[in-house]
Amino acid sequence: MPSNPTPLAEAPSEPAESQHIHAALTRTSTGREDLRELESGLDSLQSDAERKHRIEWSRILLPVAALVVLVLVWQFYVSLGVKRRDLVPGPLDVVTQMGVLWNEGKLQEAVWTSLQRGLAGFLISVAIATPVGLLLAQVAPLRRAFGPLISGLQVLPSVAWVPAAIIWFGLTDATVYFVVFMGAIPSIINGLISGVDQIPPQYRRVGTVLGASRLQMALQVILPAALPGYLGGLKQGWAFSWRSLMAAEIIAVGGTIGFGLGSLLDQGRILSDMTVVMSAILLILAVGILIELLVFGPIEKRLLRRRGLLAGSTR
């Protein structure tokens, strides 16, 4: 028990003058209510006023303007007539070709097939890579043993797996998925590991002091703390999934493999129809941009804003 149980509120109040002079040496407030009032005054002085979120038009208008400029430059180049029109088609030719592909139903089929496979492959990769990454990041001997291999796999282009996959699985969806996994899983694991490496050591100490078990520590301290790095890994993992998928679809055509964007691209090459090739390239690009804008962009922004990491960034 405290040796002197006198409640603070009953402490004799001093003349205001001497309180100010000796602020750091003795009690400075005169009781509980006074303290509450002082603190709330200081709190409102020291906290930032809340800012409202507005729609930032420049975020929408600037990219659209950039796109318009690029298309105009393209059209201008084509109208100069430097190259034959069948080698370098203009924007209008490509749009017309896309209309034709749409009417044939080929465009929808290709986008849907690829998108479906890309997303399924990516989600399965996340489900595999997350526990593996956490385990590698948390268990030192495992990390030392497999870390270099995982980094190496990230450097190895996943296209290199296509011949092996065709020999093992034939021209089936299994080939496509295998290549996607080999592309996405190592990069997600690496992202998670580097996210964990960048956690301030203080967070683990706090977790220990608060009595977190090993599992609680991993799921409720390490994983959320590593989330920015992990999200970076996921973005890269998606990019690798999508690229690997396109590579696989271009190389492995036929069999029970459906008709994807890569297949459309390869068909354009076989037919020597540059408008089909350009259409396929633009569609592959468009899907990548849309996923970034609609999925990763908002998640990342929300994550950074909640942690107060957005101030001063150019995002």
Binding site: P2, T26, S29, S40, Q46, D48, Q216
Partner: protein, 241 residues
């Protein structure tokens, strides 16, 4: 006696001892200020009491359920709101979901932050963060509370207020507090006892009792501050070459 330290020593590897023959008894409900210059092993001693590090010699007796700990920086998790930070401590302690909510609100109100529960750490001022951190360490519900220079990084106005706040909360909750600081005024302002630790190696060289009169009589408090400062400087001067 919640904390008994007997001939406690600590050295890292083959280096010079950081702590040597530290002896102290801290009674239940007592507020002890542990004062020392840099390099006296204050933080190491606190880590040993908290069970984060093991002593290399001597014996210590601490409460079997361990100790709550408050750090110099608030060390709140930035992905959680103030309330969720407190709730996480309750969760790790095994408190049920519905009870966590009410308990966290009670603790927020105890530190006068009843309305700031949904704010995130980056939206709070330094003083508010430290109060959330205090509420979180109270959520651990340990008799023993260890504080490692918790107000060192705050501005003077906020620090003075938090001294009053901490004293009030200590009286309301009856915790045993070991408060590490390098600030003599702070030690005299808060502690019932001030233990002075020497530097390299750390050892308790002298202690002073602080009475209720020191809390209200600035002259008396100033006098004691002067005496302790003189003794502290004597310790520091020993290391002059």
């Amino acid at each position: 006696m919640p904390v008994v330290l007997e001939h406690l020593g600590k050295r890292f590897g083959d280096g010079a001892p950081v702590l040597d023959d530290v002896n102290a008894n801290i009674a239940k409900g007592e507020f002890v200020a542990l004062l020392g210059a840099s390099g006296c092993g204050k933080s190491t001693l606190l880590n040993i009491i908290a069970g984060l590090e093991a002593p290399t010699s001597g014996a210590l007796e601490v409460p079997s359920d361990g100790a709550a700990f408050m750090f110099q920086d608030a060390a709140l998790f930035p992905w959680l709101t103030a309330r969720e930070n407190i709730e996480l401590a309750l969760k790790f302690r095994g408190v049920g979901k519905s009870e966590r909510r009410t308990k966290a609100q009670e603790l927020l109100e105890l530190v006068h932050l009843g309305n700031a529960g949904d704010k995130r750490p980056h939206e709070l001022s330094g003083g508010m963060r430290q109060r959330v951190s205090l509420a979180r360490s109270l959520a651990q519900d340990r008799q023993l509370l260890l504080m490692d220079e918790p107000f060192a990084a705050l501005d003077a106005i906020t620090r003075d207020l938090l001294h009053d706040e901490l004293e009030r909360i200590w009286k309301e909750t009856g915790r045993t507090i070991v408060f590490v600081t390098h600030n003599v005024r702070e030690a005299v302002r808060l502690g019932q006892r001030v233990l002075l630790l020497s530097s390299r190696p750390g050892r308790v060289v002298q202690e002073w009792a602080v009475t209720e009169e020191h809390r209200t009589d600035a002259g008396l408090a100033g006098q004691l501050t002067g005496v302790i400062t003189a003794r502290l400087r004597e310790e520091i001067r020993r290391h002059a070459k």
